[in-house]
Amino acid sequence: MRVLGKLLAVVILLGAAYAVFAWTWGVPRVAEHPTLTDEESIARGRYLLVAGDCISCHTAPGAATLSGGFEVASPFGNIVAPNITPAKSGIAGMTSAQFYQIMAYGANSIWHPLYPAMPYTSFRLVTREDSDALHGYLMSLPPVENDVPPTSLMFPFNIRPGVFAWNLLFADRGTFVPDPAKDEAWNRGAYLVNGLGHCDACHTPRNMLMGEKSGEALKGGRQGAMIAPDITADGLIARGWTFDLLVSYFTTGNGPRASSFGEMAQVIRNTTSQLTPEDRAAMASYLFDGKSAPAAEPATDMTLDAAVGAGSDGKSLYLGNCALCHKATGEGIANTTPPLAGNSTVLQADGRNLVVVTADGLAASQMVPGTGVAALGPMPAFRSRLTLAEMTAVANYVRTTFGDGTVPELSEEEVKAILDGK
C-alpha cells in the first residue's frame, strides 16, 4: 500500500512537472492583434494560403474548400485535417494570437496540441504579419459547417499532450532570419521553401518518430512507396536540372526533366503554378543557391545503338512495352507522353519512382495536363504483366540507355523491395 502511495506521488509529481513544461514551453504567450479586415491584407492572406497549400490537406475530396475532413496517413494512424472555415465546427472565434500559436508552435491549448502533420515545424518561419493576413483571410470566408471525425491514433500517440515532448525533440522554434550575405530573391525563396511552402515536409527524410533528420534537409524523403526526390542544389544538378527548367516546371508541371505526378502534381496545380513569376524564381534561386552544372546537359537524343551494357532482354521488352509511346529514342510524344531521355526521375539513383510508376501506372488525374492538351496519356500498370526479372531488365535498360552513365544497375532484390513497398 505504501509502495503504491509512493508510486502515485511520483506519477502526480511527474504529471505536474509535465503540465508546467507544456504550459510554459509548449504554448508560449503571444500578443493579441485585431483581426485584419482591410482588402489589401485579405488579398495577401489569400495569396499566402496558396503559397502554403492549405487547401490540399484541409479539403476532403468533394467537400467544400477548407472545410476539413481529409485524412493524412501516418504510421500511427490517420490524422484528420480540421475544418478551417470560420464556422462553429471550424475556427469561429479564433483570435490572431491563437492562430499564430498554431502556426508557430502547433498548439494554442495544453490539452489539444496539433499533431505535426500540420507543418508548424515549417510554418514557425512565417512572420507574424503574414500569419495575421492569413488569419484575416480565413475569417473573411463564408463559414461552412462540417463536423469532421476526430483523429484517433494508436496508443500512446493518442495522448495529445505528449506532442509537446515530440516538439521539444524535433520542432525548432526560431523565426525567419534573412541571410544578409544573400540577395533578396534568395531570402524570399528561403522564406517560401522552408516556411509556408513546407517543401521539407515531403522532401526531407524522417526518423522512426517522424522527426525530420537533422543535416539532411531536402535530401529526399519517402512518401509511401515512392520518394520525394533530393532537391538540394547538388541533387538537382546531378539529375540535369537548371534554374530555368525548374522555374518552368513550377509553372507547368512538365518539361524535359520531369512530368509531375502524384502529390507533386497537386502541389503544382494548387500552389507553384499560381504563385507570381518572381516567387517561383525566388524559390529556384534558393534551391540552386548560386550553383549550376559544370558538365554538359544530359543527352536527350540517345539512339538505341548507343545502349551500353543493356541486356537484349531489356531492349526488346522496352521496344514492345514502352516504345510505342515513349519512342525507341526515349523522346516521348510532345504534350502526350513524357520523355525518358534526360528525365530526372530516370536519373534517381535508387530507381524507386521509376519502378513504382512502371509497376502501378499513373491515371491521367495524377498528372498535370501538358501545355495545350487536356491530359497526358495515362501510364499503364505493368505489375501483373512483367515478371520480376523482366521488370528489372527493362528498368536497367531505361536507366542505362537514357541515363547519363552514372546510375547504378538495379538488382532483382532491390526491385523486389521497391515492388513490395519496402
Binding site: 521496344l319 514492345g320 510505342l324 509511346c325 525507341a328
Partner: protein
C-alpha cells in the same frame, strides 16, 4: 525482330517474324487480316483498340493494342471482336448493345464489346450485389471513349443485361 505465335479467337496463328515495335493492332490488321480492332488515339486513352487476353487460369483481361507491341502478346490467347459471333449469332453483350441502340458510327464498339464481355464473364465467376452493378459497369467500360456520345446507352445496355441475368448478381 521477334518470332511470335499467338492464338487468336481459338485458332493458333502461324508464327510470324515481326519488328519488336510492331503495334498489336497493326499485327492484327496486316498479318492476320483481322480489321475489326480499331486504332483510335494511339496513346492508350480512348480504348477503341481493346482486345481480350485469356489467361490459363480461366480469367481474362483487357489489353490496349495501340500501345502494346505484338511481341508482348507472344504465346498468349487473344480474342478480338471477330470472335464473338462465330456462327453468325450475336453474343448476349452484342445483342444488348444493338437492342439499346448503343452505338451510331460503331468505331468504338469493338472495344466496348470486349471490355463488357470481360466484365460479364467475371461476374459469372464472381457475382456482385445488385447495388454494386453500377460501379462494376463504370469500372468495366468507364475508360472507353465514344465520340458520338453513346455512353449512356452503352452503360444502360450493359447494366440492364447484367441485372437480367440471375447468375451475374447476388440477391
Amino acid at each position: 525482330m521477334a518470332r511470335i505465335s499467338i492464338t487468336v479467337n481459338g485458332t493458333a496463328a502461324e508464327p510470324h517474324d515481326v519488328p519488336d515495335q510492331l503495334p498489336m493492332v497493326d499485327y492484327l490488321h496486316d498479318y492476320l487480316g483481322l480489321t475489326g480492332t480499331k486504332f483510335g488515339c494511339g496513346i492508350g486513352v480512348c480504348h477503341a483498340c481493346v482486345v481480350i487476353v485469356d489467361n490459363p487460369d480461366g480469367t481474362s483481361e483487357t489489353r490496349r493494342t495501340c500501345i502494346s507491341a505484338a511481341s508482348t502478346f507472344d504465346g498468349l490467347s487473344v480474342r478480338t471482336v471477330e470472335g464473338h459471333a462465330p456462327d453468325g449469332a450475336l453474343s448476349p453483350v452484342q445483342l444488348a448493345f444493338v437492342e439499346h441502340f448503343a452505338f451510331q458510327c460503331g468505331y468504338c464498339t469493338p472495344g466496348f464489346v470486349n471490355a463488357a464481355t470481360v466484365l460479364v464473364e467475371r461476374l459469372a465467376r464472381e457475382p456482385v450485389a445488385r447495388d454494386a452493378v453500377e460501379k462494376a459497369v463504370q469500372d468495366g467500360i468507364g475508360d472507353h471513349v465514344c465520340r458520338c456520345t453513346g455512353y449512356v446507352r452503352y452503360h444502360q445496355a450493359l447494366r440492364d443485361y447484367i441485372l437480367s441475368q440471375p447468375n451475374l448478381v447476388q440477391g
